[in-house]
Symmetry: none
Subunit: 248 residues, 2 copies
């Protein structure tokens, strides 16, 4: 990422290690459960009423201390175009070292190697997303949720530890963590921008196709022409592409 090494963004790493809310083997109050399921449970209120103890010390300030920096560095290779077999949704494997994508290689099955670590969940990551190095899932998650108005509630105390497994279970804490590590929702394209972009891409795509078609045709024509006679030459019946070129 030789770019603007935006070092400022990265300060704390996920805290896999600390954060302890001990004693949590409790049973869980089922009526509360319902509320939680609904998302109604108030995080403030007491959550685990257990037979013997109340768990969850509300020590807020879940603040994670800055840890060290992640093993940055990237590396990658070209990408191939085989729309390979898509894998299932929830990855179960994902060992952290040198993970790669691209399952169905074809020909030169190149892969891009993930050597970074998601600052939100700790999963493997390829690059910066919305200002922070994150995995693909957190990137998608952030894009989908950062601009939502709806209040999402954490069933507990807004202190869920987010990691590769837990990330699916508490949207609120995941999102909060995204913001905490510095992801910027302002960088998500607006509806308008998206549509515009889509439009451009479509145009470009069609233009490209058209060009190809034309080029094929004229190739054929050339062949034909060159064979029997050097007769009429077909040329630019085709509009120069400039006319159709995207507006950028």
């Amino acid at each position: 990422m030789g770019y603007d090494g935006d070092e400022s963004t990265r300060d704390s790493l996920t805290d896999f290690s600390a954060t302890r809310l001990d004693g949590f083997d409790s049973e869980f109050d089922s009526s509360l459960a319902h509320r939680i399921a609904l998302g109604i449970a108030n995080s403030a209120s007491q959550v685990y009423t257990n037979s013997s103890k109340t768990i969850n010390s509300p020590t807020n300030a879940n603040h994670n201390n800055p840890n060290n920096s992640p093993p940055e560095q990237q590396q990658s290779s070209s990408s191939s175009h085989s729309y390979g077999n898509r894998k299932r949704t929830y990855s179960t494997a994902s060992n952290s070292s040198g993970v790669t994508s691209n399952g169905g290689d074809k020909g030169g099955g190149e892969k891009r190697t993930a050597t970074k670590v998601c600052r939100v969940c700790g999963d493997k990551a390829f690059s910066y997303n919305f200002n922070v190095i994150t995995c693909e899932s957190c990137k998608a998650f952030f894009r989908r949720n950062a601009n939502k108005d709806k209040e999402i509630r954490c069933p507990f105390n807004d202190q869920c530890d987010i990691n590769i497994v837990s990330r699916r279970f508490c949207q609120r804490c995941r999102l909060q963590k995204c913001f905490r590590v510095g992801m910027k929702k302002e960088w998500i394209m607006s509806e308008e921008a998206r549509l515009e972009k889509k439009q451009r891409i479509l145009e470009n795509r069609e233009r490209r196709i058209a060009e190809k078609r034309i080029s094929d045709v004229s190739e054929t024509v050339n062949e034909i022409q060159s064979r029997p006679e050097p007769a009429i030459k077909l040329q630019s019946t085709i509009p120069a592409k400039s006319e159709f070129t995207n507006t950028m």
Copy 2:
């Protein structure tokens, strides 16, 4: 394809939590996942002894969020670009053993393969339900009965062996087995949550219909426009719906 649902639900729990900090290599157990989500499965402290404890729970975070995604069809007619050859994960051919079922959406005739085994009755299963891999019937059974207060009696000795045939004969033992293997009634949506969700779905549905109508109209317009001249045609202004369509 990896992921054979063989991992036992409960038992692997402990192990997992023991290794949790080391990295999530390999299959994880979803119930643990929940605990982690809650910040419960925390580091060093407390290992959960497998069998008897109920762990905690809920988070149905999934359902708390509004929003939709583009389930049905996509692909606006005009541009024939489709992300070509994506392979289906579950192909229809060559299944000798997997039972299949038609998977919901997409009218296409694809089916999903059941490669797992219900931990309650042994029938085929597709995925986790309320924290345990179960068949569809046990899933429904559990949802219907887990929260009932009424005391059900076993016609025998409370020791019925539950299998695909016997499961129908003794609700009590079946339910007990459900709990024993780790199904969590806390994960059943509450009445409130259900209603809320239903409401959202209705709203989304209407919105979608409305959108489609509009899009059809503008498509028609485009057709008409493009009739006279072979010029460049304006793409529909209404993009195919994407995940972000609704704003809630």
